[in-house]
């Protein structure tokens, strides 16, 4: 663990980590890839907003309205700075990462940028939220969906490259929520550029755990979600290149996204407003702003280093267990803090249940990544995932719990 990084100190900010569960057992929360816990600072910011500054934004001209607007827009500024966006107007607030990805897929279709005969490239390790919108777009347009494969080790298979001259969009996850793999997105982006394709990066698992610089990255769109980065639920982010956003048609129609509305027709506002119909997630932007402050305070380099160290420790300890198979890279190299595994002869549900009886929270199932599970010949896995508050002692508890599970089921 990095010397500067004091996990015990960090844990004090997360009251839920003191929770006692059934049997007065302490909570061992190893489900952060599903959603992260929230520090007191974030909850306090939301509170203060509702109790002292609540009003609707933009359209209100009074003092409270100015305060609420300032808080809401400051959230946008903080997010923009956090991901090093060249302009704060490039940050579009959505309800979650899924909406962000759907937004891109819809408007690219509506704009005629994906048509019959064109190709869309995704990968077999995508989350359903980065699969289904593209399947829907293919169905609407007649475009073909093509897939990057996965190597047996759990890496993106760059050798068999599905990108062709007909590729119009490449949409790839940066960090896999199931395999844990950190993909070489720069390489994919460079390849996409050669054929003039647009690139969408699903950074839902990346922004929470590695320093992100969208300007340097060079993608066209980046999607992520607040609830996985110590922020509130109910808000996600689509970052997009400004010139591209400015060209694209709107997504949802309604208040806030218009320039003018007449009975004959409507004209639309500039980005980001064009893509934010209706009352936006105001308190959630304030909360996300506080989350970003919190992460910045810790230092994303430190967060990444901690994630790396704890993952290495977990891999080492878990691989000692007989009958345990890690689905995904076995080395803590280019690897995020999600470890999916199977135990011989025991169904993942039963593993998760036994662990839960000891206060250890993991996830069992397909983790919204059915195609990847199919590829590895498993219907479901158990996944333990770590974050900035995870300790080695928690990994030890997990390992003990797994051994206990094996004993219980006589496997």
């Amino acid at each position: 663990m990095a010397a500067a990084y004091d996990v015990a100190r960090v844990r004090e900010d997360f009251p839920i980590l003191q929770r006692r569960l059934a049997g007065d057992l302490p909570l061992v929360y190893l489900d952060s890839a599903n959603t992260s816990q929230k520090p007191r600072q974030v909850v306090d910011a939301i509170d203060a907003h509702y109790l002292a500054h609540n009003a609707n934004v933009s359209r209100a001209m009074h003092q409270l309205g100015a305060e609420a607007t300032e808080g809401f827009e400051l959230g946008r500024t903080k997010v923009a700075e956090f991901i090093k966006a060249p302009r704060r107007e490039e940050v579009v607030f959505t309800k979650n990462a899924s909406e962000a990805l759907n937004l891109v897929a819809r408007v690219l279709g509506d704009a005629g940028r994906v048509r019959e005969g064109d190709e869309i490239v995704i990968s077999q390790m995508e989350h359903h939220s980065n699969i289904v919108p593209w399947q829907q777009l293919s169905q609407r347009t007649g475009a073909t969906l093509r897939w990057f494969g996965i190597t047996p080790e759990g890496r993106l298979d760059l050798e068999n490259d599905p990108i062709t001259e007909r590729t119009k969009v490449v949409s790839i996850t940066w960090v896999s929520n199931m395999l844990g793999t950190i993909n070489p997105v720069q390489q994919v982006i460079a390849r996409a550029r050669e054929v003039g394709a647009l690139v969408v990066i699903d950074a839902s698992q990346a922004v929470p755990q590695i320093p992100v610089d969208v300007a340097e990255l060079g993608a066209d769109f980046v999607a992520f979600t607040s609830h996985k980065m110590v922020g509130p639920t109910g808000i996600g982010v689509l970052w997009g290149r400004y010139d591209l956003l400015a060209e694209l048609p709107p997504f949802l129609g309604g208040g806030e996204m218009i320039a003018t509305v007449t009975m004959e027709g409507s004209t639309y506002a500039e980005p980001p407003a064009r893509f934010e119909a209706g009352t936006p997630p105001i308190a959630q932007s304030v909360g996300l702003g506080a989350a970003v402050d919190y992460l910045t305070e810790l230092g994303m380099q430190n967060v990444a280093a901690h994630e790396q160290a704890i993952t290495a420790y977990a891999l080492e300890r878990m691989l000692e267990i007989d009958g345990l198979r890690v689905v995904g890279p076995q080395e803590a190299v280019d690897r995020g803090g999600a470890i999916s595994f199977t135990l011989e002869g025991i169904h993942p549900h039963d593993v998760a249940q036994l662990l839960d009886s000891r206060g250890i929270a993991v996830r069992a199932g397909h983790h919204c990544a059915k195609p990847a599970h199919l590829l590895f010949g498993v219907q479901s896995t158990t996944r333990a995932s770590f974050y900035l508050y995870t300790t080695e002692a928690e990994i030890d508890a997990l390992v003990d719990g797994i051994r206990h599970t094996q004993k219980y089921f006589g496997a």
Partner: protein, 153 residues
Amino acid sequence: MAADAQNMDALYQEIILDHYKRPHGAGLRDDGDAEVHHVNPTCGDEITLRVHLDGQTVRDVSYHAEGCSISQASASVLNDLVVGQPVDRSLQVLDEFQRLMQGKGQVEADEDVLEDGIAFAGVAQFPARVKCALLSWMAFKDAVAQATGKDQA
């Protein structure tokens, strides 16, 4: 509920583990009157299930299930309880099983009706597992409705 989250033996009764390890009537057999495929979207557990009728009698229920101990054991118990029964009776058993599972652990089940099925009483205390126990039963209900030409209720 708090204490139950810890009590694994209430959930994993011996009877359940036995059915899990040696499921009754597993495998898909020919000439079913209806075949259905059900999925538990939460976890991806799946079952393909066929009902084989003989007039008003359930001659066989054959199935291929992938899933956890609870869902597999439940399919095995289903097979035990409904094969050879009149269709009406099988649906009564289903109702009773469903009542037990959705009773949050507050419901007394009729052992005469459910036999080994009462071992699932403990599952009812684990809301996340109720779906596992009901997967095969809901598939059965659906298949019977199809086989007898009624809409799924």
